[in-house]
């Protein structure tokens, strides 16, 4: 079965509109829309057009290299990949539990990472749409424009991000691609000078994070119809939660709620994710479509990330963020909030929470001293799951007796959100594009919906081996000469029909 608006019944003769590339997201993707002669939308797809291959070239490498290698998946959330791989490798080498000091320093690094990534997304990438409007002047719709029109907001956003980056530098050695976390623990404490430097600013950061929550709340309050309906759709929600149901971004058990808010999966061991989640390949994109096996592909897909986490947990274990969470839940009037733009609100609540947790950790003497490394009996395999800024991140490895990786499977946050992002785009297409003459402002709404998820398309295209290809051969006059599709199981199909999928040709390579 195909989802509504995923595949046009008869694509021949339809007009194709492409948003290529999608801007103000991490990585490269495009949206294609097929319209009939009355501008009625017949097909909408979010395509991920870059191709990486990390899962394959990690195979054969020594396990201790992996936490450094996988950081190259992403320049925005390298810490999440570093820590997820370290958590998996902790299991591989039997280093469980890691020491108290090591876990607290890892948490400090991770919460700093989430803070900086969320600040980057909200202030740099999303706020121009929200502050200026979806139809505003294109030249203004960027962070430089925000700095010009709202210098106070821009400055606080920049400094929040910088604070998070400093936390990463202090704990991992560098602002990006550090080496602090290693299989078995950490290789350095936080120095007293660095701790004092960060602690001086942390109350200010908590204050600014609280103001950021207020900004988003104000936007929702000023235009509730837009914020509640834009790109809205019902879905399941998946995340880690702490064993007692609290929000936890570093560790926990898997929990899922259905669209009505009922918990139907809880307390699931992260090591059993393969029994819970199945990934599907579709021939028109390089990003897979995960779903919960128990529900199947048609209804088993779900959201991850801030919107899911803030609603999946029973409470947030920090005072100010918990107050904000309750207010957010009340906004739903007893039902889960499914509004796509509410991702921003939930994201800023998480910024506030991370700042509060960071303060507690900076005041904890365990980050300055104590054992950093643990060892144990080798197991040969391990899964590490973490709540990365964009959602649940899964690293799964098998390692041979010779220390070399024999299998790697990664399911990154943006991949979990693949179907959800496509649903958001289709919702916007139905609501705003259908039957209308398209202009830049209307097409920007499609991008606004995608941006709300803060997708990292670079992270999400790591697979190799079962990759479908859609190859179109065009003549110099643009006429279709040949069209061949390789499915994920290796089957080739030659078809003259027009396709809007990613192409190996001038379009894909440009």
């Amino acid at each position: 079965m195909s989802f509504d608006l995923e595949t046009a019944a008869n694509p021949k003769g339809l007009r194709r509109v492409a948003i290529d590339p999608v801007s103000r997201v991490e990585g490269h993707g495009k949206v294609t829309i097929l319209l009939d002669e009355h501008n009625r939308v017949q097909q909408v797809r979010l395509h991920i057009v870059e191709f990486r291959g990390f899962e394959k070239f990690i195979e054969g490498r020594p396990y201790w290299e992996v936490p450094v290698m996988v950081q190259r998946l992403c320049g925005i959330c390298p810490v999440s990949h570093q820590l997820a791989s370290c958590k998996a490798m902790d299991r591989v080498i039997g280093a469980q539990p890691i020491t108290r000091s090591a876990e607290k320093i890892r948490r400090l690094m991770h919460y700093g990472q989430v803070l900086q990534s969320h600040a980057l997304h909200f202030f740099y990438l999303a706020s121009p749409d929200l502050l200026f409007g979806f139809d505003s002047e294109v030249n203004l719709r960027n962070i430089v424009g925000v700095a010009r029109a709202h210098p106070d907001i821009a400055k606080k956003g920049i400094l929040l991000r910088k604070f998070g980056q400093e936390l990463i530098r202090v704990t991992s050695g560098k602002r990006i691609h550090g080496t602090g976390a290693v299989p078995g623990g950490m290789n350095k404490h936080v120095s007293r000078d660095d701790r004092d430097m960060l602690h001086r600013d942390v109350n200010q950061m908590i204050g600014w994070a609280g103001e950021a929550v207020d900004i988003v709340k104000q936007l929702h309050a000023q235009n509730p119809i837009l914020y509640d309906s834009f790109g809205s759709f019902r879905s399941n929600m998946l995340s880690l939660v702490r064993a007692d149901g609290a929000l936890d971004l570093y560790d926990g058990v898997l929990r899922a709620r259905n669209a009505d808010g009922q918990i139907f999966l809880d307390g699931a061991d992260d090591q059993s994710y393969m029994e819970l989640i199945e990934e599907e390949v579709r021939p028109w994109t390089y990003m897979k479509f995960p779903h919960l096996r128990s529900l199947g592909r048609d209804v088993g897909w779900y959201r991850v990330g801030p919107l899911a986490r803030v609603q999946n947990c029973d409470f947030i274990p920090s005072r100010m963020a918990e107050t904000q969470r309750k207010e957010f839940i009340d906004w739903g009037k007893g039902a889960p909030v499914h509004a796509t733009l509410a991702y921003h609100w939930a994201r800023m609540i998480e910024v506030l929470h991370t700042a509060e947790v960071i303060k507690d950790l900076l005041e904890d003497p365990d980050i300055l001293q104590g054992n950093l490394m643990t060892s144990g009996e080798r197991r040969g395999a391990g899964v590490g799951i973490i709540e990365a800024p964009r959602g649940t991140l899964i690293h799964d490895y098998r390692v041979g007796a010779d220390d070399l990786v024999t299998m790697c499977n990664l399911i990154v946050s943006t991949t979990h959100n693949n179907q959800a992002m496509n649903e958001a785009v289709r919702s916007v297409a139905r609501q705003y594009l259908d039957g209308r003459v398209l202009n830049e402002g209307l097409l920007n709404r499609v991008e606004v919906a995608i941006r709300a998820f803060d997708p990292c398309l670079s992270c999400a295209t790591h697979a190799l081996g079962q990759m479908p290809l859609d190859v179109v051969l065009l003549g110099s006059d643009g006429q279709l000469i040949d069209h061949m599709i390789k499915s994920h199981d290796g089957e080739f199909i030659r078809t003259p029909a027009l396709s809007a999928g990613p192409r190996i040709g001038a379009e894909a390579l440009s």
């Binding site: 103000r24 210098p151 821009a154």
Partner: protein, 164 residues
């Protein structure tokens, strides 16, 4: 305490001649040694970003350093002006745009900023800097030492190209 002078180079050490910016910063810092005391901050990064506007706060003079495919060899020096240009993307902005962001955020004029562009030719990933580029770097470092001493400051508001 913020140092009155800032030398800020950007580029990727693993991308051939793109390393010239950060190499300049590292080597000028080593050449200056303790003689500059707390009078100079040496910073480097992969790309210029909007947040670097805050690195201009409380400076008397700033030197931006980058590798360039387009400048004359061995290097060019340009007095920078704050510009509201369209150079910014999600990932990088120009030094003039950084100055403009400073102006927007601080509501005051940025400190005098100079761009030192060092001629490079090869920017392949995984390659070291080329020999010719390193020669350009050596010559730029001589100029850089004079800049630290305050002997090479171009006249304000005058766009000038000093071909070494």
């Amino acid at each position: 305490m913020t140092a009155p002078l800032l030398v800020f180079g950007w580029g990727n050490l693993s991308r051939g001649d793109d390393a010239l910016g950060p190499l300049f910063v590292q080597q000028l810092g080593a050449l200056a040694g303790s003689s500059v005391g707390s009078g100079v901050d040496f910073l480097e990064d992969y790309q210029l970003q909007i947040e670097h506007a805050l690195d201009l706060v409380c400076r008397q003079r700033v030197l931006f350093v980058d590798a360039s495919l387009n400048c004359a060899a061995p290097f060019e020096v340009t007095t920078l002006r704050a510009t509201r240009d369209a150079s910014f993307t999600t990932h990088a902005i120009s030094p003039g745009s950084v100055m403009q962001v400073y102006r927007d955020l601080a509501r005051t004029e940025p400190p005098p900023c100079t761009l030192l562009a060092i001629r490079g030719t090869q920017f392949e990933l995984g390659e070291p800097p080329g020999l010719l580029a390193l020669q350009h770097l050596s010559q730029a470092l001589v100029w850089g030492q004079r800049w630290l001493d305050g002997n090479t400051v171009p006249k304000p508001s005058v766009l000038e190209h000093l071909h070494a």
